[in-house]
């Protein structure tokens, strides 16, 4: 049925409207150390946005500025359109935060942790009580409601932390390495919860150094290194830009000199990476390249063709050097 245009209320689509996070030349210094070095970022409502990077890349410092806990040293930052310097409490009232390290009170019960937390948002006892039941159900902890937190598994504690972060119906959820240290079952269970929140329109901002997590959850992400953005885009775009469609892995046995073999495959692909135990050939056609390797008379002990992942992008951009 046609409706007069003048009467139509415009409902903004998920990705329109002012950005929930708006940063320009955002900088954080601790003494002489620059943790975040003038980054520009916008996160739209409804988006799932990821900060990837090795340890010490500045992810957590960025998250703490977005969470209005740590004031920026320089630059512009607006969260939900407000200035963290002056509107911290009003912003935090609308955020949910899942910190890297648990901040649960292990001496209190699962339910009490939610009740106490709700009170910080000024919720009435009745409101927070009802909300707690709903959230315990959502994270499948209803049957543990009366138990102390201490003996819970790591995955359960993370789920409780997520439940707690939702007590105020946040518009945006900040997750700092949400699944670090969890077993695969627990990680998938968490991803499932986060995916459902995203479907309901909750904006997700997360940091991770797990590439599969970023591919699972993020619409868009940045790779951070030394306080700056090394790359930015959707997982697919990043792979297209910084890697190839496929990767051919060749192993020539434990005693082989891989540098020698690297010369022998020279010219087959644009990029070859030499690792102690194998060669990586970046190619758009793994099987074709493998055939070409055999045509040169090379007989690797094993060949593996796999799809390129964000991990390849990540390692290319941030290097293989170990960061502690």
């Amino acid at each position: 049925m046609p409706v007069p245009v003048a009467n139509v209320e415009t409902v903004p689509a998920a990705s329109s409207g002012p950005p929930l996070v708006h940063a320009r030349r955002l900088t954080k210094r601790f003494g002489d150390f620059t943790a975040v070095d003038g980054i520009d970022v916008d996160v739209a409502r409804g988006e799932a946005f990821g900060f990837l990077g090795p340890n010490g890349a500045g992810k957590s410092s960025t998250m703490r500025m977005i969470g209005c806990v740590s004031p920026p040293t320089e630059g512009t930052l607006r969260i939900l359109g407000l200035d963290p310097r002056t509107d911290g409490p009003a912003i935090r009232a609308r955020l949910g935060v899942v910190p890297q390290q648990d901040t649960l009170d292990t001496e209190l019960s699962v339910r009490e942790n939610l009740l106490i937390y709700g009170r910080y948002f000024g919720m009435s006892r009745a409101a927070v009580r009802a909300k707690a039941e709903e959230l315990l159900d959502f994270v499948q902890l209803s049957d543990r409601a009366k138990d102390k937190v201490e003996p819970l598994s790591g995955g359960m504690k993370r789920r409780l932390t997520i439940a707690r972060s939702l007590v105020n119906d946040p518009e945006m959820l900040l997750l700092d390495e949400p699944t670090t240290g969890l077993d695969p079952q627990a990680r998938h269970s968490l991803w499932d919860r986060l995916f459902r929140l995203k479907q309901r329109g909750v904006t997700l901002v997360l940091t991770t150094h797990y590439m599969d997590e970023a591919e699972q959850l993020c619409d868009r992400l940045v790779v951070m290194d030394k306080g700056r953005f090394a790359a930015e885009g959707s997982p697919r775009e990043l792979i297209a830009t910084y890697s190839t469609r496929e990767v051919l892995e060749l192993r020539f046995g434990p005693d082989a000199d891989n540098n020698v073999y690297a010369d022998k495959v020279h010219g087959l692909v644009n990029r070859v990476e030499v690792l102690p135990d194998r060669l990586l050939l970046y190619t758009d056609d793994g099987d074709g390249t493998a055939a070409a390797v055999y045509d040169r008379g090379l007989r690797p002990a094993s060949t593996l063709v796999r799809r390129s992942t964000l991990e390849d992008v990540f390692l290319r951009l941030t290097g293989r050097t170990l960061v502690d």
């Binding site: 601790f30 957590s60 703490r64 969470g67 806990v69 740590s70 004031p71 911290g88 409490p89 009003a90 935090r92 009232a93 609308r94 955020l95 935060v97 910190p99 890297q100 390290q101 648990d102 901040t103 649960l104 009170d105 292990t106 001496e107 209190l108 009490e112 106490i116 937390y117 009170r119 910080y120 948002f121 000024g122 919720m123 709903e134 959230l135 159900d137 959502f138 499948q140 972060s165 939702l166 105020n168 119906d169 946040p170 518009e171 700092d176 929140l197 309901r200 329109g201 909750v202």
Partner: protein, 272 residues
């Protein structure tokens, strides 16, 4: 399962400063529900034991010497009141503060909510005010039962004791937030609190000390807390002395709160 968690339009109530500080106090009060029985027993038992042993027992010997105007019990009891307020203030400001930063990470949990560093600090300090006051109130009641509170102005010794306790609590909040490890607590207790407890006029008049040490004693907040409580419990308070003692203790509270705010911010805003 699968109840809708976020489809309801969220209420966007932002708690004001009073509500935020209240919520911070609320946490400590909730915690206290687990431990209050033990603290009640010890806050009754301690004054009974101390006053019986030292006030009555040891006091009989001291009174024989005949050098005090009053009974030793009446001299000692208000000193112990101030010293207990100090001990409570110290105790509540060491491990609970460091734990809330480092171990339980309560402060960090609060910071993810509308509560700010100031709300968190003020709420916890006010909780310590409650703990010091309630412990001192029990002490004062026991003193009265021992017949060692001859004047009605003894009632004013309660806020005086609280002030004395907070003159320690506030700077120790700063100390606890400024240090990475609790090893400093033992040193603080051993080299500062215990000597102060023994030599700041609680057990004998400061005038017994060599002159140099007298000046050291005058500099301690405990001396002023003891003098204030003693004069109020005994009914010998003069306004001028009171102003001096109260002013000096308030200086410690104010300086301590400012230092605590500085260290809280430095510690809580810098790292997760």
């Amino acid at each position: 399962m699968s109840t809708d968690v976020t489809s309801v339009p969220p209420s966007r109530y932002v708690p004001g400063p009073l509500a935020r500080v209240g919520a911070s106090i609320g946490f400590w009060a909730y915690q206290y529900r687990r431990t209050w029985r033990g603290t009640v027993v010890s806050s009754v038992l301690t004054p009974v034991l101390f006053l019986a042993a030292m006030g009555v027992g040891l006091g009989a010997l001291v009174d024989d010497g005949g050098r005090l105007d009053n009974d030793y019990l009446i001299f000692l009891a208000p000193g112990l009141l101030a010293a207990t307020a100090m001990q409570t203030g110290v105790f509540e400001s060491m491990y609970p503060v460091m734990g809330a930063i480092k171990w339980v990470r309560t402060y960090h949990a609060m910071l993810a909510t509308p509560l700010g560093v100031g709300d968190i600090l003020l709420g916890h300090l006010l909780w310590v005010v409650f703990r010091v006051t309630s412990t001192a109130a029990v002490y004062l009641a026991v003193i009265a039962l021992f017949g060692a509170a001859p004047s009605l102005t003894a009632l004013l010794a309660l806020p005086a004791a609280t002030l004395c306790g907070m003159a320690f609590a506030a700077p120790i909040f700063a100390f606890s937030a400024g240090y990475e490890s609790p090893s400093g607590f033992a040193a603080l207790e051993r080299f500062v609190i215990v000597p102060m407890f023994l030599f700041s006029g609680t057990f004998f008049p400061v005038s017994q000390l060599p002159e140099v040490l007298q000046w050291v004693a005058y500099a301690t907040p405990l001396y002023h807390g003891v003098e204030l409580c003693r004069a109020l419990v005994g009914g010998t308070q003069t306004a001028l002395d009171a102003v001096g003692h109260i002013g000096y203790l308030l200086l410690w509270v104010a300086g301590g709160v400012l230092a605590a705010f500085f260290f809280f911010r430095r510690r809580l805003e810098a790292t997760g």
